[in-house]
Amino acid sequence: MDELKQVILSYVIKEYLEEGDDRTVDAETPLISGGIVDSFSMVSLKRFLEKRYAIQIPDAEATPDAFDTVTRIAELVTRTQARTDGRA
C-alpha cells in the first residue's frame, strides 16, 4: 500500500474506531456505507487531509461516496493535489 493510503488508513483507525472495536479496516473497507464513519463525523477527516497536504477539497467533491473507502479518498486527494499543482 502506498504512503498516502497508509496515512489515511492510520488516521481513520485512530479517529473513528472505538477502543475494543474488533473490526478490521483496510483500503477497500466501506467506511460510510459500512457504518464505520458517519457523514456527521467525516468532516474531521476532510480537515486533516486539507491541513496535511495543503489542499482545499471543494465541498461538492467531499461526498459520502468519495469518502467511502481509503482508496477513493486517496484518489480524491491525488486529484485535488494535481489541480492545486496545476494552478501553482
Binding site: 473513528y16 472505538e18 457504518g35 458517519d38 456527521f40 463525523s41 468532516v43 474531521s44
Partner: protein
C-alpha cells in the same frame, strides 16, 4: 398535472424499498390516555388490545396525571386555545414568562426561552449564538436534532468519540485557534441510556476556554437527587452554559422545549433563533399543564425516587433472567439483540404477550447494534414489571437468547 404518474411511481418505489428492507415505520393507534397500561390498535384495523407500555418517555408518569389535566383545563378557560401569533408580535402571555422562570429555577440557569419543541430549540440555538470563527465539538452519539442544528450553523464542526474525554481534550487543543469553542453533548444518550461525564466535560471546557451545551431531554425532572438533570447528578449545576430540554417527555409529555442558560446566549436566541422567530410557541393549555408539572416536581422527590427504584428493579430482573442488558444509571434500559430482524421479531412476540416495546436498528443505532429499548416510568408498579419479565422470559426462551451475549447471539442470527 405536475404530480405525474411517473413522479408518483418514483415515490411508491422508494416507499416499497423501505418496506422490503424492513425499515418502514408504522404507527400504532392508542385508544387511551398515555400511561403504564394503554389500549393499542395494531396493526391498523386489529381489535384494540390492552398492553403494558414499556416504551414511552413518560418517565415521571405525569402525562395523564389528574392535577396536570385539571390545570390544563383551567388554563384553557383562562388563557384560551391559541395565540395566532409568534412570540415577538402578539404571541407571548404572562404564563409563558412564568413557565420560563420556573424552568430557569429548576435547571439552575440564568434565563430560559421556550421553543415549539426541543427539536426546534436544537435547530435554532447554534446558528443564533455561533459564527464562522467558532467551532462546535460534539459527542458522536448526540441526538439527530443537534446534528441538524449544527448543520444549519456556519461555525466549524468537529466530533469526539462517544464519552471519550482524552479524544475531547485532543480536539479542544486542536481548536485553540478558534474565537470560541462549544462542547456539545446529550445529558442522557437516548439509545444507550448512559449519562454524559459532565463533571469531566466541564473541567476540560474550563481548562480550554470552551462553552458547554447539554441536551438534557432524557433527564430533566428525574436525573439528579432532586431531578434537575445530569448536571445535578455530576455536581456541576451553574457551570453549564446552555441546556436544551423538552416538555415532551417527563414534564407532562405534551410538547414544547426550551433553551436555558447564560442570559446573553438566551437573549441571542430571542433575537436570532429562527424556530422561535417564525413559529408560534407552546399553546397556553400546555403552558398551564407544564406549570402544574413544575409545582408537582417541587413538592418532593417521590416520583423520581420511584422511577429510580423501578429502573433498578427492572434492570435486575432482566439481568437475572439472562438478557444482555446495557449497563447504566437511567430509566432507559436497552436489551441488546444485535440482529435487526431478531429485534423486530422479539418486539412482535412481546406485543402478542401484552408488552409494548419497539425494536431499534440501523440507522437509528449503529449497524450490528439492534436492540429493544425499554423505558421505565414512575407510573409502573411492581406488578407491571413482574408481568413484563414473565413475557420477556417466554419470548427469550422461544428465540433461545437467554444467557447469551453478543458473540453467541450473532453466531446464531448474524449481524
Amino acid at each position: 398535472m405536475a404530480y405525474s404518474a411517473a413522479v408518483r411511481e418514483r415515490y411508491q418505489q422508494e416507499i416499497h424499498g423501505l418496506e422490503q428492507a424492513g425499515l418502514l415505520k408504522q404507527e400504532r393507534f392508542i385508544h387511551s390516555p398515555q400511561g403504564a397500561d394503554i389500549s393499542v390498535e395494531f396493526p391498523a384495523g386489529a381489535p384494540v388490545k390492552r398492553v403494558i407500555n414499556l416504551c414511552s418517555n413518560n418517565y415521571l408518569g405525569l402525562s395523564s396525571h389528574p392535577e396536570v389535566v385539571e390545570a390544563a383545563r383551567a388554563g384553557l378557560d383562562s388563557r384560551g386555545y391559541g395565540m395566532s401569533s409568534v412570540r415577538f408580535i402578539c404571541g407571548t402571555q404572562d404564563v409563558h414568562r412564568e413557565l420560563e422562570q420556573g424552568l430557569t429555577a429548576l435547571l439552575g440557569t440564568e434565563d430560559t426561552l421556550l421553543f415549539p419543541s426541543c427539536m426546534d430549540a436544537n435547530a435554532g440555538v447554534f446558528e443564533a449564538i455561533l459564527g464562522e470563527a467558532d467551532v462546535m465539538i460534539a459527542d458522536r452519539l448526540v441526538h439527530a436534532s443537534i446534528v441538524d442544528g449544527m448543520r444549519l450553523c456556519k461555525a466549524q464542526q468537529d466530533t469526539f468519540k462517544h464519552s471519550d474525554m482524552a479524544h475531547l481534550e485532543e480536539k479542544l487543543q486542536e481548536h485553540q485557534d478558534k474565537r470560541a469553542r462549544m462542547v456539545i453533548t446529550d445529558g442522557v444518550f437516548s439509545m444507550d441510556g448512559d449519562l454524559a461525564k459532565l463533571d469531566a466535560i466541564v473541567e476540560l471546557a474550563e481548562r480550554y476556554d470552551a462553552m458547554v451545551l447539554v441536551d438534557d431531554s432524557h433527564a430533566t425532572g428525574f436525573i439528579g437527587r432532586t431531578g434537575r438533570g445530569v448536571h445535578e447528578h455530576c455536581g456541576v449545576v451553574g457551570r453549564i452554559d446552555v441546556i436544551t430540554t423538552t416538555l415532551g417527555k417527563a414534564l407532562g409529555g405534551a410538547s414544547g422545549g426550551c433553551v436555558s442558560g447564560r442570559r446573553e446566549l438566551v437573549e441571542m436566541c430571542r433575537q436570532r433563533a429562527r424556530p422561535y422567530l417564525f413559529s408560534n410557541t407552546v399553546a397556553p393549555v400546555i403552558v398551564a399543564g407544564a406549570l402544574k408539572v413544575l409545582e408537582l416536581i417541587g413538592r418532593g422527590t417521590e416520583r423520581r425516587d420511584k422511577l429510580e427504584e423501578n429502573a433498578r428493579y427492572w434492570r435486575r430482573l432482566l439481568t437475572e433472567a439472562g438478557f444482555d442488558v446495557k449497563a447504566g444509571d437511567s430509566p432507559i434500559v436497552p436489551v441488546m439483540l444485535y440482529n435487526a430482524k431478531l429485534a423486530q421479531d422479539v418486539a412482535r412476540d412481546l406485543f402478542a404477550e401484552g408488552i409494548y416495546v419497539v425494536g431499534f436498528f440501523f440507522p437509528v443505532v449503529p449497524k450490528g447494534q439492534a436492540r429493544i429499548r425499554t423505558q421505565l416510568s414512575a407510573a409502573h408498579e411492581r406488578a407491571h414489571l413482574d408481568k413484563a419479565i414473565e413475557a420477556f422470559v417466554k419470548v427469550g426462551r422461544k428465540h433461545d437468547i437467554l444467557g447469551k451475549g453478543r458473540k453467541e447471539i450473532t453466531e446464531k442470527y448474524g449481524l
